[in-house]
C-alpha cells in the first residue's frame, strides 16, 4: 500500500520550472531520501506534499486519496523544519501538545501523549524549558516529538541534521533512524547532504533541475549511478574525457583520454565508437611503490604511473593526490589499516584499478 503517491507533478514559478513531471510513491513504514543540490526542486516537492504549495499539474495523493484541494491543516503530515520552528513563547510541553490540541486529541489524553513522545526522544524532565534554553540537538528532538505526536500519515524531514555540528550529526542520525523505525513512520527526508541521504534512506531518489534522475537503494545509487550528474553528486570521483578505441578484447573496451592515457573498462553500454566520460572512485585505486618489483599487465587491470603531490592522513582514511602525465590529477583514498605503503610528496608511484570499477558515461 502506497501511503504517498505523486503523479506527474509539475510546479512552475512564472517561467521557471521548479518541479517537472515528478512521479514518486512511498510504501508504508519506509524512509525515502530525496537528494539533490539546492534549487533541484526537492524543497518545492516537500512543500507540495505538505500543502503549502499547489502543483500546476499532476496530483498528490495520501493513502490513496487525492489531497490537492486540502489545506496543510486538513492533511495529516508531520513536518520537521530545518530551523526546527519551535514556538519560542511556548515551553517544550506546550510545543509538543500544540498539534494534539488542534488535531482533536481529547484533552485528558494530551499530557500522557506528551510524556510518551518526550520519553521517545529522551527529553523527559525538560517539559518546562523554553526552546531558547535548549541546545541545538535538544531542539531537534523536541521538534521531532512535536511532529510525531499527532501520529502523522507521512513525516517530512527538511535537512534534519544540517544545523548541527559534525559529531552531533552522526549521533542524532542514528537516533533519528531508530525513532522513525520504532514508530513505523513513513518518512521522506529532503536533503542536499549525500551522507544524510544514503544513511537515513531505505531508498534514495536523486533530483536534478526539477526532475527525478534516479531512484534506488543507497548502494545502487553509489555503485551504478544513472548518469554523470549522479556519479559526480554522490561520493567522490575522478573523471577522464576519453575516446573509445576500436578494438576490444572480450567484454573489455579500451579508451584513450585527451592526454593519451589508456583506460580499460568492462561496462561498454554501446558498441559505437565515440567519446565518453570515465569515472573512477578514489577508494578503488590501489597505490604501489614503483620499486615494488615488476607488475604484470593484466588485461582487466589499469596500470598508471604518476607522482604524489599531497598526502593528507585523515585518521581512518589517507587522502593522496597524484599527478599523472599531461596535467591529470587523481584523488586516491586508502584505508588506514594494515600495511599501507607510506608515500611522500614528490615520490613516483604506480596506480592500479580494475577495469570493472570504471564507470562509463557516453557523451
Amino acid at each position: 500500500m502506497n501511503v504517498l503517491e505523486l503523479k506527474d507533478v509539475t510546479k512552475k514559478y512564472g517561467e521557471f520550472v521548479a518541479v517537472e513531471g515528478v512521479c514518486l510513491e512511498i510504501e508504508e513504514g519506509k524512509i525515502l531520501s530525496l537528494l539533490g543540490p539546492s534549487g533541484c526542486g526537492k524543497s518545492t516537492t516537500l512543500r507540495m506534499i505538505a500543502g503549502f504549495t499547489t502543483p500546476n499539474s499532476g496530483t498528490v495523493a495520501i493513502a490513496g486519496e487525492n489531497v490537492d484541494h486540502l489545506k496543510p491543516y486538513e492533511r495529516n503530515v508531520g513536518l520537521l523544519f530545518q530551523d526546527y520552528a519551535l514556538f519560542p513563547h511556548m515551553t517544550v510541553e506546550q510545543n509538543v501538545a500544540y498539534g494534539l490540541r488542534y488535531r482533536g486529541t481529547p484533552k485528558p489524553m494530551i499530557p500522557s501523549r506528551v510524556q510518551q513522545m518526550l520519553s521517545l526522544v529522551r527529553m523527559l524532565g525538560m517539559e518546562a524549558r523554553y526552546p531558547s534554553q535548549l541546545s541545538g540537538g535538544q531542539q531537534q528532538r523536541v521538534a521531532l516529538a512535536r511532529a510525531l505526536a499527532t501520529d502523522p500519515q507521512i513525516v517530512l524531514l527538511d535537512e534534519p541534521l544540517s544545523a548541527l555540528d559534525a559529531k552531533l550529526r552522526l549521533e542524532l542520525r542514528i537516533e533519528l533512524k531508530e525513532i522513525l523505525r520504532s514508530v513505523g513512520a513513513t518518512t521522506i527526508v529532503v536533503t542536499h547532504d549525500q551522507e544524510e541521504a544514503l544513511s537515513l534512506g531505505d531508498e534514495v531518489v536523486v533530483m536534478h533541475a526539477g526532475k527525478v534522475i534516479q531512484r534506488g537503494s543507497p548502494i545502487e545509487i553509489y555503485k551504478a549511478p544513472a548518469d554523470k550528474f549522479v556519479a559526480e553528486f554522490v561520493g567522490r570521483s575522478n573523471w577522464f574525457c576519453a575516446t573509445r578505441r576500436g578494438r576490444s578484447s572480450g567484454d573489455l573496451s579500451s579508451y584513450i583520454t585527451s592526454n593519451g592515457i589508456e583506460i580499460r573498462t568492462r561496462s561498454a553500454p554501446t558498441d559505437r565508437r565515440g567519446s565518453a566520460d570515465l569515472c573512477i572512485r578514489p577508494e578503488h585505486i590501489e597505490l604501489m611503490d614503483v620499486t615494488q618489483g615488476v607488475v604484470s599487465d593484466e588485461p582487466d587491470q589499469n596500470l598508471l604511473e604518476g607522482v604524489v603531490v599531497d598526502v593528507a592522513p585523515l585518521g581512518a582514511d589517507v587522502h593522496v593526490v597524484v599527478d599523472l602525465p599531461g596535467e591529470t590529477r587523481l584523488q586516491v583514498i586508502r584505508k588506514n589499516v594494515g600495511r599501507i605503503p607510506t608515500v611522500v610528496p614528490g615520490q613516483p608511484v604506480r596506480l592500479c584499478f580494475a577495469a570493472s570499477d570504471v564507470l562509463v558515461f557516453p557523451t
Binding site: K71, G78, F87, R146
Partner: protein, 275 residues
C-alpha cells in the same frame, strides 16, 4: 610624539566627556523646569529661584482651562492609541503577507504622512473638514492624530513581524491549526511587544501634538498643548512649568505600569521579539 596607547587613552576621555555633556544637554532643561515650578516669586524671575513654594501647582490645580485641555488630550490620546494600534497592526499584517512587488509601494504609501510637515497636514485637514460642516471638533482632531500616528504603529508592527520566522506559521498549520488559530496562538503573541511599542509611540505623539491640533481645535474642545500655548501668549507665568512637571510625573507612572506589564526594556529597547 604620543604613543598609540596615549592616543587611545585621550580618545577614551574625550568619549566620556561627550557622553557627560550630552546627558547634561538633554537633562538640564528638564531639571530647570522642575526647579522653576517650585519658585516662590509670583513673577517670572531669574534662575535659580531664591526660595521654594508650591503656589504654581495650586494655580495649575485651579486652572479649569488647562484641566479641560488635559482631559481632552487624554481622551484624544487614548482614542488615537486604540485606533492607530488596531489599524496599524492589521495593515502591517497585510503588508507582511504581500508579494515583494506590492510590499514596497504599499509600505511607502502608508508611511508617507511621516514626510509631510504637521503644518501642511493640519492645514489640509482644515480645508477638507470645512467642506464637511457638522464634524465634531474631537473627531477632526482624532482624524489628524490617526494620520500622524498610524505610520508609527505600522512601522513598529512590521519590525516585529519581520522577526517572526515564516516557518513558525507553517509549523502551526502543519500541526492542524488553521490560519486564524495560528495567528492568535503564534503570530500575535510573538508580535505583542512591538505592537505595544507602537501603541506607546502613538500615545506620546498624540499627547505631544501641537501643530495639527492648532488648526483643528476650537474654543470649547482643545488639547493640553494648545491650552499651554494659549496660556503662554495671554499670561506667561510658571503655571506652565507646574503643568509640565505634572505631565512628567504622569509619564513616569505610565512607564512604571508598562514595565510591570511588559518589561520596559523589551518594549522600548528592542521592540522586536528575540527568540
Amino acid at each position: 610624539m604620543l604613543s598609540k596607547r596615549h592616543t587611545d587613552a585621550g580618545l577614551g576621555v574625550l568619549l566620556k566627556a561627550t557622553i557627560a555633556l550630552t546627558a547634561v544637554f538633554l537633562l538640564l532643561p528638564v531639571v530647570m523646569t522642575v526647579i522653576m515650578s517650585f519658585d516662590s516669586r509670583n513673577y517670572l524671575g531669574q534662575f535659580p529661584p531664591p526660595s521654594l513654594s508650591t503656589q504654581w501647582f495650586t494655580k495649575f490645580a485651579h486652572n479649569g482651562y488647562l484641566w479641560s485641555g488635559l482631559r481632552t488630550s487624554l481622551l484624544l490620546a487614548t482614542a488615537t492609541t486604540v485606533g492607530a494600534t488596531t489599524v496599524g497592526a492589521l495593515a502591517a499584517l497585510a503588508i507582511s503577507r504581500m508579494t515583494a512587488q506590492w510590499r514596497d509601494p504599499v509600505t511607502t504609501a502608508f508611511l508617507s504622512p511621516l514626510v509631510l510637515p504637521g503644518v501642511i497636514i493640519g492645514f489640509a485637514l482644515l480645508m477638507a473638514f470645512s467642506a464637511l460642516s457638522a464634524v465634531p471638533t474631537f473627531l477632526k482632531m482624532l482624524a489628524g492624530h490617526l494620520l500622524i500616528t498610524v505610520p508609527f504603529t505600522i512601522r513598529m508592527t512590521l519590525i516585529g513581524l519581520a522577526g517572526i520566522s515564516a516557518t513558525l506559521g507553517e509549523a502551526a498549520l502543519s500541526l492542524g491549526a488553521n490560519e486564524r488559530q495560528s495567528f492568535f496562538t503564534i503570530i500575535l503573541p510573538l508580535a505583542k511587544n512591538s505592537i505595544a511599542a507602537g501603541a506607546i509611540f502613538a500615545f506620546a505623539f498624540s499627547m505631544d501634538d501641537l501643530t495639527i491640533s492648532l488648526f483643528l481645535s476650537d474654543f470649547n474642545t482643545y488639547p493640553l498643548p494648545v491650552a499651554l500655548v494659549g496660556l503662554m501668549r495671554s499670561n506667561f507665568d510658571l503655571t506652565l512649568a507646574a503643568a509640565a512637571v505634572f505631565l512628567m510625573g504622569l509619564t513616569v507612572i505610565i512607564l512604571i505600569v508598562l514595565d510591570r506589564i511588559f518589561g520596559l526594556e523589551r518594549v522600548i529597547g528592542h521592540g522586536i521579539y528575540k527568540a
